[in-house]
Amino acid sequence: MTQTVSAPALEMRGITKRYPGVVANDGIDLEIRPGEIHALLGENGAGKSTLMNILYGLATPDAGEILLDDTAVTIAGPADAIARGISMVHQHFMLVPVLSVADNILLGEETMANPIFLDRREAHRRIVDLGKRFGFDIDPEMKVESLSVGWQQRVEILKALYRDARILVLDEPTAVLTPQETKDIFLVLQRLADEGHSIIFISHKLFEVLEIADRITVIRRGQVVGTRIPSETNEDDLAELMVGRNVQLVVDRGESHPAEPALTVNDLRVTDDRGQESVKGVSFEVRAGEIFGIAGVAGNGQEELVEALTGLRSPTAGQVSVAGKDVTRHGPRALQQAGMSFVPGDRHRFGLVLSFPLEDNLILTQYDEAPYSRGMVRNDAAIRAWAKQAIAEYDIRTPSATVTAGTLSGGNQQKAVVAREFSRKLTTLILDQPTRGLDVGSIEFIHRQVVAKRDAGAAILLVSAELDEVLELSDRVAVMYRGEIVAVVDGPTAEREDIGLLMATGRRGAAAEAALVAATHVTGPGVEA
């Protein structure tokens, strides 16, 4: 992977972008050579996406300039960027689910039979050829919504290739992929680079970056803090660059003292929105005073499992009981009364009403209980008193209890949800991605609260796509793969690699390695399990 040094294909100089309250990019310099895979590394919120949005014309920089082949250019918008040979695979897929693969690829760059009508036949031919060139067979007629995320990722890449991109930006393309799918994508990227394309690869997974990149640029708080070559660096070095200090962010979780089972799940089956069974007979129990973590690549049924456990989705079969009481198919209300608390993964969708005052959000799940209501009437004094207490206790940074929740920062919003859910009388606590998108300080705070709750005797179910979080907190870890729990291991002694393999293949050891090899040869879009 050595690279002859040549003139840069792209240069970004002194890029600065301010958003209200943050300097997302602060004088960033970046240089990309032809045929290079260049990784951008940085924590959440470091400014990676912002920089790429500027390159792609989605945001205008406050200062700085962009040079393509040594010529300064102004990129007015995505159309302009595409015309200049820049394509981008966004952090969140930019695919239209109800359209076919071909239509998604064509969109904006249509192959025309005449000035009005599309030439779908020609387009199909080109798409199939292109796919073959990079090692995959794809049916252009399939609806994107029926594809697995891995295949959607490939469609995104095809979209870029179809536009003859010279510079391809991939913003966290591997976040939702299994290690196997990641490998496949890496093969494609490598082949692209070999053909002379420049690739900007964004990630905060260190080992991936070390595997694929020719050069690595690390961004911290909007500034470039260093550029490295993989052969001259290692994970520790990169981590320190990224975070700015020698990090070993592990909470001292102490000993757990599990007691009797508080949450029992028996052969639970759940169907997703598309009518497919995505939880296929899951059984486990969580005991009072322990943290039971569920690891798994996103999309393996965890979401449906959590929804079924919290009453947001009705399971098709199986039983759930809380503290010995059967609560199968009980709604959220009944579950709360049975002693369950739930921190939802999507706080904007479920956890908060952004247009309501903070104080109302702090009683969102207790509004009809004493002392917050007397009969049918709200008790505003009690609500306000509790809000004051919660703000102090949970360190929620807010001007007052009456500002709307939408004006709080993400971390403080999450603290409000945690304050509300942790403060009620509970026996069982379900945490879905409790620290997603939060800064380090908030994560630490919430982790400490979780451990405290466990020590107070709560049964805690922790679901997270962040394997590190699961390993850090859990007393026992279950791995979910294609709707099933494929293994339950002891938390403190669990091996990261072992769990990673389980997540990727559902198998362990040699069997898993064999599965990985077999999977490499699978072609054709796999419909999501």
Partner: protein
């Protein structure tokens, strides 16, 4: 001070919208009078609006001489003012209720365009039940008839609520269909079943003692009290009770409501029924004032409720004020017609323009460089988002 400033922040955009609508309305009056070949009379709108005000409040600001030239002359005749104000509140009373019928729906993220049908059904039921209890003592007769009308309206609000909750049929379209259906059904019932012998046209029997007692002036009936009472009751319900909290939550974020253990289905049905109840009450007041239900009964109060609710930013107090404004326009319109000879439809145009400026509030805010609160109820976003969606 801060309370005043807050009030100003709430009211400034509606006020600017009203002023702009009146200005644009006056341009229309002048332009159209020119278009039909009258001589240029820049004072025509002034005369028109002044007579509108006089008809609504009894307050006279201008004196128009024989040549049609106005001069400033402030006068107030107490008798006239009392009558005018009574008419204004009497006209406002049903509008308050139909305004609530739309506004409470907004709170739950529902757009109730079915006011018209709910008013008709409420009126019809009130007339039938009123006639049945016509010989009971007045308090009983009135209470029973009003309650029946309210329930009738509630039932007619329940239907689109249930349709939305269980089949996902969006209330914007289903209520429009139900409005037309109400006409067909009720006219049929009056003609075939409830028609009385004697009068030359199809109508139901007289409501007798169920007729709303007049409390003050010529037409200040009990209906005015009911409407006035509905405002604080609704306010209390929406902002002080747990049910109100549920309604507002489901309107602001249906998913969060589900997560919090509320049942959006139940709330949608309940809220639509509540909306229907208000509209039914409005219809009952109209019909128990008239004394019977004529087969051809028709009224615009259901539709006017939309304007009232939007203008009053879906807040009970705002709705009261908006209803008084529209009621005043309705009460003052006759005097405007005989003074200025302007087609009465100008009132509709002005009301439409007010809504237009409210809808474009962002533009107003920018143009006048003011800081003010959002006028359009945020829950309306939920209305648009759920449009054409499946079940909740």
């Amino acid at each position: 001070m801060t309370a005043l400033r807050r009030l100003w922040a709430l009211a400034v955009i509606p006020i600017i919208s009203i002023v702009l609508a009146l200005l644009l309305g006056s341009l229309l009056i002048i332009a159209s009078s020119l278009a039909i070949g009258e001589s240029l009379n820049l004072l025509l709108p002034l005369i028109a609006y002044e007579s509108l005000l006089e008809g609504a409040t009894g307050l006279s600001l201008l004196d128009v001489n024989a040549a049609g030239v106005p001069s400033l002359a402030f006068s107030i005749d107490p008798d006239r003012a009392a009558r005018a104000l009574t008419s204004t509140v009497a006209a406002a009373a049903p509008l308050v209720l139909t305004g609530l019928a739309v506004g409470v729906g907004f709170k739950a993220g529902l757009f109730n365009i079915g006011g018209t049908g709910q008013v008709l059904v409420g009126a019809f039921v009130a007339a039938i039940v009123g006639a049945a209890v016509a010989d009971q003592p007045v308090p009983i007769a009135v209470t029973v008839a009003l309650a029946a009308g309210a329930l009738g309206g509630a039932f007619y609000g329940f239907i689109p609520g249930a349709l939305k909750a269980f089949t996902g049929a969006h209330e914007v379209v289903s209520t429009i269909m139900l409005n037309s259906l109400a006409f067909f059904i009720i006219v049929g019932l009056v003609n075939d079943i409830f028609k009385i012998v004697g009068p030359s046209f199809a109508r139901t029997a007289d409501v007798g003692n169920a007729a709303l007692p007049v409390l003050f002036g010529r037409n200040g009936t009990v209906g005015v009290l009911i409407a006035l009472a509905a405002v604080p009751i609704t306010w209390f319900l929406i902002y002080r009770t747990t049910l109100g909290f549920e309604i507002r939550t489901v309107g602001a974020n249906p998913s969060a409501a589900r997560y919090a253990g509320m049942s959006p289905r139940r709330l949608i049905i309940l809220t639509m029924s509540l909306c229907g109840l208000f509209a039914g009450l409005a219809g009952s007041i109209e019909i128990l004032t008239l004394g019977y239900y004529p087969a051809v009964f028709g009224t615009g109060i259901g539709f006017a409720g939309i304007t009232v609710a939007l203008l009053g930013r879906a807040h009970p107090v705002g709705i009261l004020l908006a209803a008084l404004l529209l009621g005043g326009m309705r009460a003052g319109a006759p005097s405007m017609q005989i003074t200025a000879n302007i087609p009465i439809e100008i009132i509709d145009v002005i009301q439409g323009l007010i809504l237009l400026f409210l809808a474009a509030e962002v533009v107003i805010r920018r143009t006048f460089r003011i800081r003010a609160e959002r006028v359009t109820p945020g829950e309306l976003g939920t209305v648009a988002k759920t449009y054409g969606e499946g079940t909740v």
